[in-house]
Symmetry: D2
Subunit: 290 residues, 4 copies
């Protein structure tokens, strides 16, 4: 729960998941202990202690972690694989590389850039890609490279190819910070890293286009925003975070959009921070958020 901006040198994050059974916690903790690790934080969840799925996130510190990593990984393999458990071990001194895709709206983009500059997002930002140019100057003022990839051709395949080429090998995840182009299934097949989107409604309400206009027409008293992993089913991916704001009859659809922008940037920022800290585990079409 301590903020990421604190020292993370010599810290590792271990994610374990698989079928629940007695003794997992003990086995995992024993691996950490016999490799001179000290557990800093530990969260776990079992969908059912009898026959359910088990999920655990352990952060531990260990002097000279980098040197010890191969041995710890070997030990984890020996210990956890016989129990049928999958695991990933991440060196927390290496920030994740995050690309941002954006169209014309700047509110989510600037919030991420500013939180990053403030030291509150444990990532590097190797690039911002946009199908417009209006945010270029702002992006570059944060010292972040900006690439313009127009989405002009009807089938978008040329633009998507350009984006893939920019991303390939350079990023660990992609954030769609109000990127108003629908990415093709082929793109999603090939991108090879998770994508996080922000949808401007409280999903599953108002799936699809123009949610604020439809919210106004329906006369809702709260508007919302939803951040989720992108899947081939539009607006149907696993939800990471949601929030809402109160509105009244006196707000026009334009007012809803303006108020909603503040919910969107907050929800997306939390989702990005949690993903970057390995707090989010996908489980079917749901997420575990530690």
């Amino acid at each position: 729960m301590a903020l990421h901006s604190q020292a993370q040198k010599d810290q590792a994050c271990l994610i374990v998941h698989g079928p629940d059974r007695p003794g997992i916690v003990s086995s995992v903790a024993a691996v950490v202990t016999r490799n001179q690790g000290n557990i800093v934080s530990l969260d776990q969840y079992s969908s059912d202690p009898t026959g359910g799925d088990f999920f655990q996130r352990v952060v531990f510190s260990r002097p000279d972690l980098t040197v010890a990593l191969p041995e710890i990984e070997a030990d984890l393999g020996r210990t956890l694989e016989p129990l049928g458990l999958a695991w990933t071990l991440t060196d927390r001194s290496v920030p994740k590389r995050m690309a941002i895709l954006v169209s014309t709206s700047d509110h989510c983009l600037l919030e991420l850039l500013w939180r990053h500059r403030r030291g509150e997002l444990p990532v590097t930002i190797p690039m911002v890609i946009s199908n417009h140019t209006n945010t270029a100057e702002d992006v570059r003022s944060f010292g972040v490279p900006f690439f313009h990839v127009p989405s002009l051709d009807p089938d978008k395949s040329h633009a998507e190819a350009q984006i893939l080429k920019l991303l390939e090998g350079n990023v660990d995840f992609v954030v769609l910070a109000r990127y108003m182009q629908i990415l093709s299934p082929e793109f999603l097949d090939r991108v090879g890293v998770p994508l996080i989107n922000i949808h401007h409604s409280f999903l599953p309400a108002f799936i699809g286009a123009a949610p604020y206009r439809r919210a106004k027409e329906r006369g809702v008293k709260l508007i919302g925003a939803t951040s989720h992993y992108v899947t081939k089913d539009l607006d149907e991916g696993p939800i990471i975070e949601q929030d809402v704001a109160r509105v009244t009859h006196a707000h026009t659809a334009t007012d809803l959009q303006a108020r909603g922008a503040y919910v969107e940037r907050a929800v997306l920022s939390r989702a990005v921070e949690w993903h970057a800290e390995d707090r989010v585990i996908r489980h079917g079409n749901q997420t575990i958020v530690f």
Copy 2:
């Protein structure tokens, strides 16, 4: 904004609506003034000052209101009807008569009964009607009559006829406090008073049955409740109030239902209070809430 429990003797509530045009406020205020009224509170809303719809709620005090009412009504007719404005005038010393329909869940029912006993709902409760008997004792302990109308026959028409007979002439509005029977269009045609429902989701998400189970399956991070006027289109009536509560991956569908109950009773109570105080004006499929 002052609580209803304060003296409302010699107070009237005037609702005005119609096409907006210059001079309405002045005309309404002049009627109140020349009839010795003193405006206690005034709220208004115009969907567009040029060519939009105008809505106003004026509470005014006037000594010997009851005696003066016919004359005030005549003045309102003379003044507002030439302007194309509809109006209703309510004597606030006469509480609205509210019937409650309920099935087995008691959380919304008891909350309404308890708030009423506490003096926080400006209504009388001439009856509670249920298709079950489990709440009878609780209801009667509040001094409120309880009627059991089973919903056994497949077409429900007999039960609905019984309910209509109980309600007829005796109530000003009906609250469906988790009444798990779908009322027929014929019932809605004949009941002649507004019905307020509580739906156990954040509409328009999870319209229909089993919203908590579907919320769990979708992996939402907030659950909600919605109070709305009942129309023939199920779950599509004008929304009065909504609210949400935060949930996590660790909550089961049963946990969502338990937490949701607290949102439901709060949302329904606010909707009922506002309706009873003439704060809610229907406008197409939306509401103005003053």
Copy 3:
């Protein structure tokens, strides 16, 4: 996180705290595992992994728990005491016994009684004690004994002695559900069980009497409530839970009190539930809430 109303037979709750050091998690988990326990949930917190304080709550299931308890306790003693760790082990099939002290306001009292009847508070309620009689009938309608102990004498010592006699040996904790008498230091010395209070302000704002009146005078835009353990320093005990509600200039002090009642009952209910589930650990004048 699963609701208490689910079966807790053959479940134990282990609380561990003491100086943090490597290997604690491993040692605790090993005790559970070698005693045939299966960990159901585990939460932990360290104020600082290097030289800080460590707190852990482990719920585990174990067939025939009651029979095995003495052996598990012996193992815990052998394992944890050499590490300088304090621990308590609770059989979750035995609900805590909760007494409620109340004066005239019924909102917190009825909320607790109703949540208990609904199966949402894992406690028994052997008694309600009041210095007034207005709630007696309601309390008894829930099947709970009601005792009237008037607070008439100036020094209150007679009343306190009567209360102590009623509580002695019969309860595991006491809830002051808007009990408007200040308990003497002698009472607190002798009562021997934790007391949970609800204060009608967002502490440390408006410590002392008449917080709603003073909130109105200060013109705050939010009112709050605070549930805390009772210590000899009035309104200064460790805070368990707090919440707020929005108010405006239009609310009178009486309105604040009426709105505040809903915050109070929610905050106190959560604090009581968490205490009853051993989720709250006192740490100096603060609390860890798992």
Copy 4:
């Protein structure tokens, strides 16, 4: 309620306050009507319809407003002054001029600059003044002049004199966006325009220095921020807006400060927007916010 970014040409905002009495609404509305105005929105509040204080905010449109203003003002004087009512009339096509004073923290400053660029604050920003230089580049990138006025001398009178000289005649109000210098009573006497401050606690809790550290020590479960008008009594001025965020035992004082920054910028932005739109009326040490 419509957003300020919509056209405000030919719109005026009238604020009326004074002793309540029958007929005020009628008189005010009549002035607007006979001067060809059309009421766009109207809010009012009476602390007590019998002998209390009356407050009203009326926005009205009127073609060729600028030309008609003198006549409308004369009419208001003739009509309202005999009733003992004070009033101010503002041409909404003229945005208020806002100066920002800031120290090193940029979160409130950048939020205001960005909201202004986005068209969501109906102000001009003729200057930002800081006792540090770290925000200069950011400020100027928004096209806003930046002035550095160091606070070096012990009595600060030289710095304050410089600030007064910069402000004099150039601004309509001043925002202290985390300006960490206490302004002298002499400065406040001479500045001649309202000052709005953001305090990093939920006042009146944690008045004075280091509120986040003290919040951590007290173990609160919510942290807050408060925006208020500045008076000679430090942290005691009329509150405009407050909000809170949930925290846990796991947050350090530094974490509270980081989370609190997001509450601060939101609370200050709302207070500034409402002040700029003449929605806030001071009433003794309280505010009416329409």
